[in-house]
């Protein structure tokens, strides 16, 4: 994996900049890990951006309007997203909907809910403690980075060392063989979509916490970043392949690139174009590397 080092701008290497960059891509990384699991099974989730926004809205609402304790609000936020994830999974399994279509639908539904709940207005008036997750530091390192690290380790172990993780990979490789081998495919599908949405929600809460506001439009287009991170990280959209480390690197590439472009004072219009070029280049490089092997 190539890491783009924009050594052209020395300010890039200042610790504060590095940390802030890392914090910005940790949301992508966390959601990316969720999407990774879905992509490994050969599916996709377009609703990640919407549940990201929904979770932020729900948790900030519970906090500011209903005065619930912060941590309960956050759990409810994750739960709200997870419900959508489970819905995605159920639709794929029982309605036999292609994941693209199912999640396209929930993407709109969740986004709609965001707007309905907030009537379009951002949710503020948050108690100070809420911001700790997004803005606070522990041992000098932003909390967001700690969260990313813990989730990365947790899920790397889950995918690579547990029975369920192995089954997820097997299912992505060949769902029919895995089913005949006595593994409950339906349960696995519902699981990965639920977990994916839960992680996406968590990422949304971290961002809401960082901004101090629950934005109904938060996460618009975010699903593309999450999916890009996973794909740049080496996962195959047809399933069966992918890694947590790869996803983190993918997210890092996106984050670093954005940061570099800003520091180099590149026109913001060009940023999107360059991002697109980088995605294509990175995935092509990975495909060529893979076809070199047997």
């Amino acid at each position: 994996m190539c890491v783009i080092t924009a050594a052209a701008e020395p300010a890039f290497l200042k610790v504060s900049n590095l940390l802030s960059t890392a914090r910005s891509f940790s949301a992508i990384a966390i959601a990316g890990i969720g999407v990774l699991m879905i992509i490994i099974t050969g599916g996709i989730d377009l609703s990640i951006g919407s549940v990201y926004g929904l979770a932020g809205v729900v948790s900030t609402y519970c906090c500011s309007l209903f005065g619930m304790p912060i941590w309960i609000s956050m759990i409810l936020g994750v739960l709200a997203g997870a419900i959508f994830g489970a819905l995605n999974g159920l639709m794929v399994v029982y309605c036999k909907l292609p994941p693209f279509i199912a999640t396209l639908g929930t993407m709109q539904i969740a986004r709609g809910l965001c707007t309905i709940l907030t009537q379009g207005y951002p949710v503020s008036n948050l108690p100070g403690g809420y911001m700790f997750l997004g803005q606070g530091k522990f041992l000098g390192i932003p909390m967001a980075i700690w969260c990313m690290a813990m989730i990365a380790v947790l899920f790397a172990v889950f995918l690579n060392k547990t029975v369920t993780g192995r089954r997820i990979f097997a299912m992505g490789g060949n769902a029919e063989s895995t089913r005949i081998s006595g593994i409950n495919i339906k349960a696995l599908i519902i699981l990965v979509y639920t977990l994916g949405a839960a992680l996406g929600s968590f990422a949304g809460i971290i961002t809401a916490s960082k901004l101090g506001v629950g934005q109904p439009t938060a996460g618009n287009g975010f699903e593309m970043d999450a999916i890009a991170a996973v794909v740049i990280g080496g996962a195959s959209l047809s399933g069966g392949e992918g890694s947590v480390l790869g996803t983190i690197i993918g997210a890092a590439i996106i984050g670093v690139l954005r940061n570099a472009l800003v520091l180099l004072r590149v026109d913001s219009y060009w940023q999107t174009l360059i991002m697109g070029v980088v995605i294509i280049a990175a995935v092509t490089a990975d495909q060529l590397r893979k076809s070199g092997k047997a």
Binding site: K161, G173, T178, I180, G182, I183
Partner: protein, 496 residues
């Protein structure tokens, strides 16, 4: 009648290496026009690799190829086809969603100006189909055809290229006896047209029926070349295996115990009707019938892969509720499916990962997989089944067909089933590996495992089964005990 003995194809000193294994080592092969050359060898001997070098799929590391006396470079499948070489693979290369004519003329559709000349395409296709004897409309979508019919389309396609060298890789593995005869008729016609046919097969009976010469490969080197008329089965097997093989099936007697599985009145939507049978411990119950008789469908329904409309399954006398393969596993059942690549294995995963897939709980401690236990389990089966693989980490897609099949069997043995269903367990597998699998089945039966074996090879069914269930068109026609069974009695029951 004097035949021209100028070779149309000469492969000299062909060497091909893959990571970890030398698949071909200085192999020579010569084919003459108007002759059928049989190419035999155990799995992993290099037959498919050699043909893939010839058809441009693989590039050889050393060696040269001469067509009509001239040295040629085969860079890709297209160049191979341009040189007049056509290959018909074991896994057919047809596009299911298109019709017959489109499949035959893919990429070279006749044109009228800018548009496809569909009329001409179908007329040409019709002529080719008549040549091979396929009486199906050229507008038929290939998806609806049987494997045998798809194969005939591949032959028609090869003929349309005016190929001078046609290679057929295990062409009869999914064909019935009648369909095989039709194929032989086509091959004889090709011989008359002075085409050189290279016929790769494990079925010695066929080799004696259709070939003029036999070339044997063993472990990537040439192990012999003989004229079919002058050699015996033993000579060929000797060359293939390097040792003498006496009887093909060594079914030893096992003690037949109580009924472990009873199926009553099983029916599925629109096909299976009222299937009932019993299976005893230590027994090998063969299921015979023509391709499409419904044998696989019965097993898939019993094992919970497909839904059944009615009927009951009893295990050890008690009613069993099997609605998914997971349930079946809980009743200590195992199922080796018909198609190892699409139903039996996860091709992208390693030998280790495939072997342990149905028994993950046995190699895990509190949900975490123990690599050590996994390797122990894999090593045990690799050794017991003599799986030829460079390591446990080798991706199964790189193994030969026979070894892939052994991995599938290993996977199901790993959870120690008491009822094991095998659907065409030795299809596309060489003599040596076949014998090993039969010995394994025999051994399992002696240890009390109840075995059901579906096979389209009558000699295999006759040699291995204690009783034979005969099916036809979704129904059971009858059960024949070993002593009374022979080809005639089975066929009689099929058509009764």
């Amino acid at each position: 009648m004097t035949k021209t003995r100028t070779p149309i194809l000469e492969m000299r000193g062909i060497t091909k290496r893959f990571p970890g294994v030398t698949a071909l080592n200085q192999v020579d092969l010569t084919a003459y026009p108007g002759e059928v050359l049989a190419l035999v060898g155990e799995n992993g001997a290099g037959k498919s690799t050699l043909m893939k070098v010839l058809s441009g799929v693989h590039k050889m590391d050393e060696g040269e190829i001469l067509v009509n006396g001239e040295k040629v470079e085969i860079a890709d499948p297209l160049s191979s086809q341009m040189l007049g070489i056509s290959i018909i693979y074991q896994e057919l290369n047809v596009l299911d969603n298109m019709n017959i004519a489109e499949n035959i003329f893919l990429g070279r559709e006749p044109k009228k100006g800018m548009f496809e000349d569909k009329q001409k395409m179908h007329a040409d296709a019709r002529r080719l189909l008549d040549e091979v004897g396929l009486k199906v409309d050229t507008w038929t979508k290939v998806r609806t055809l049987s494997t045998a019919q798809k194969q005939m389309i591949e032959v028609a396609k090869a003929l349309s290229f005016h190929s001078k060298i046609i290679i057929m890789d295990e062409p009869t593995s999914s064909l019935t006896e009648t369909e095989t005869e039709t194929l032989f008729a086509i091959i004889r016609k090709m011989r008359e047209m002075n085409v050189a046919v290279v016929y790769i097969s494990h079925k010695l009976a066929e080799i004696f029926a259709i070939s003029d010469e036999v070339a044997v490969l063993r472990d990537g080197v040439c192990a012999g070349r003989m004229t079919t008329a002058d050699c015996t089965e033993n000579d060929i097997v000797n060359a293939m295996v390097g040792r003498d093989i006496n009887d093909l099936f060594n079914k030893q007697d096992a003690k037949i115990g109580d009924v472990v599985l009873k199926v009553e009145g099983l029916s599925t939507k629109g096909f299976l009707k009222d299937i009932s049978f019993e299976l005893h411990a230590g027994e090998i119950l063969g299921f015979a019938g023509l391709v499409g008789a419904g044998r696989s469908e019965v097993m898939r329904a019993v094992f919970g892969i497909d839904k059944r409309e009615s009927g009951d399954v009893f295990i050890n006398g008690k009613k069993a509720f099997i609605r998914s393969p997971k349930d079946a596993l809980r009743y200590c059942m195992g199922f080796v499916p018909e198609d190892r690549k699409s139903q039996g294995l996860v091709l992208g995963m390693s030998v280790r990962q495939n072997t342990t897939l149905a028994a993950l709980r046995l190699v895990a401690e509190r949900g975490f997989i123990s690599r050590q236990k996994e390797n122990e389990m894999t090593n045990r089966f690799v050794k017991a089944l003599e799986v030829k693989t460079p390591s446990n980490e080798q991706r199964v897609k790189n193994l030969s067909g026979g070894n892939q099949q052994k991995v599938v069997i290993a996977k199901w043995l790993a959870s120690s089933p008491s009822i094991l269903i095998l659907d065409e367990p030795t299809r596309g597998i060489d003599v040596g590996a076949k014998r090993e699998i039969h010995a394994l089945m025999s051994d399992l039966a002696r240890r009390g495992v109840a075995i059901i074996m579906i096979s389209s090879e009558l000699p295999e069914i006759l040699g291995m089964s204690d009783r034979i269930v005969v099916m036809h068109e979704g129904r059971i026609k009858g059960v024949i005990p070993r002593e009374k069974a022979d080809q005639v009695s089975i066929m009689k029951m099929v058509v009764s």
